[in-house]
Amino acid sequence: MASRFRRILVPVKGYPTDADAIGLACTLAKRDRGQVFAIYVIEVKRSLPIDVEVDEELQRGEHVLQLADEAASRNDFTINTELMQAREVGPAIVDEAIEREADLIIMGTSYKRRFGEFDPGRTMPYVLKHAPCAVWVLREPAPVEALRR
């Protein structure tokens, strides 16, 4: 592979593809002697102050980051993890990529349909549009019946 990646940001959300994203990031980082940052962003509703602590959300975030840590261990690599709160996930990921001077974002995503059509959600398109660095997206396999419709 031609490009070299030293600082890789992996936003995790609890998708089945998260572990693959972490694994891939670790492989690249090992090769290029880089670092991997896994982040989980809690989206805080407008009706709550931004620094509110919702236990359920915090626990879920900790759990997803724990899984990321374990996925890294299976690749014999140590990663940095961070739990963040923001009003919107997309801008928070882009801001984090800029702040950490990431040269690659690897993100997993699920295959979802909404109103009878494929729905990429808001976060992934936002990151694709606004991130200054390279972005790789790992999508889980689509259910066959969904594609036939």
Partner: protein, 220 residues
């Protein structure tokens, strides 16, 4: 403070930008999706697409914890309703409405808006400040108390010329808070101070006593 701004036109945009720079938490509600996107790209995730007159939208943005709601759309009736819903449904303590037709000032106050702001009125007040012979200038509303602060110039033929402060027969609940004499500058309102032409009084008065105060101090 948590401030909700309704209307993402020029006024709403620049107002939000300023409030954010002052460190407030700001949420802007705008109907048009494209305007919304543009503002979000520019100011961060501060703009929500929606109708600021709808209780559902105000609920979504947490109007219940807002300190202030400022409605600055181009339509007076929308600004009125947005403020009323915020106040009645969500108990927002302070509501500020832009009014495009200055005639609506009184109506808005009567219908519970804390501070209607008319750009026409603001410009008129600036003109009053620039015209020195105007005997009474409105400086500021203390609308929560039904009071206002005014600046009164004592003219050549004022009936209080040569009188002492203690001899003034001011309307009930009106009082002089500062005297700016033409000779010595700003003075505390000492009762024995004698007024002369060119002196200025900064007075606090119930809004409905303004005309009477003007007559007492200027004769017109």
């Amino acid at each position: 403070m948590y401030i909700i701004v309704v209307g993402g036109g020029q006024v709403g945009y620049h107002l939000s930008k300023q409030l954010i720079a002052e460190g407030h938490e700001v949420l802007l509600i705008e109907k048009d999706a494209r305007t919304c996107d543009r503002i979000n790209e520019d100011l961060g995730s501060v703009c929500l697409r929606g109708d600021g007159c709808e209780a559902a939208t105000l609920d979504e943005v947490g109007a219940g914890r807002a300190d202030v709601l400022i409605a600055v759309t181009g339509e007076d009736e929308d600004n009125l309703v947005s403020c009323q819903v915020a106040k009645v449904r969500f108990g927002v303590r302070r509501t500020i409405a832009r009014i495009n037709n200055p005639k609506n000032d009184r109506i808005f106050r009567l219908l519970g808006i804390d501070a209607p702001v008319s750009s026409t009125q603001v410009i008129l007040e600036h003109i009053e400040h620039e015209v020195p012979q105007h005997p009474l200038m409105h400086l500021m509303d203390l609308s929560r108390f039904g009071m206002e602060i005014v600046d009164v110039l004592i003219g050549e033929d004022s009936p209080v010329r040569g009188k002492r402060l203690s001899d003034l027969e001011l309307p009930p609940n009106a009082f002089v808070s500062l005297v700016i004499t033409s000779r010595d500058g700003p003075q505390a309102p000492n009762p024995s101070l004698t007024l002369g032409p060119g002196d200025e009084l900064i007075a606090v008065t119930p809004i409905d006593q303004e005309a009477r105060l003007r007559r007492v101090l200027t004769g017109v």
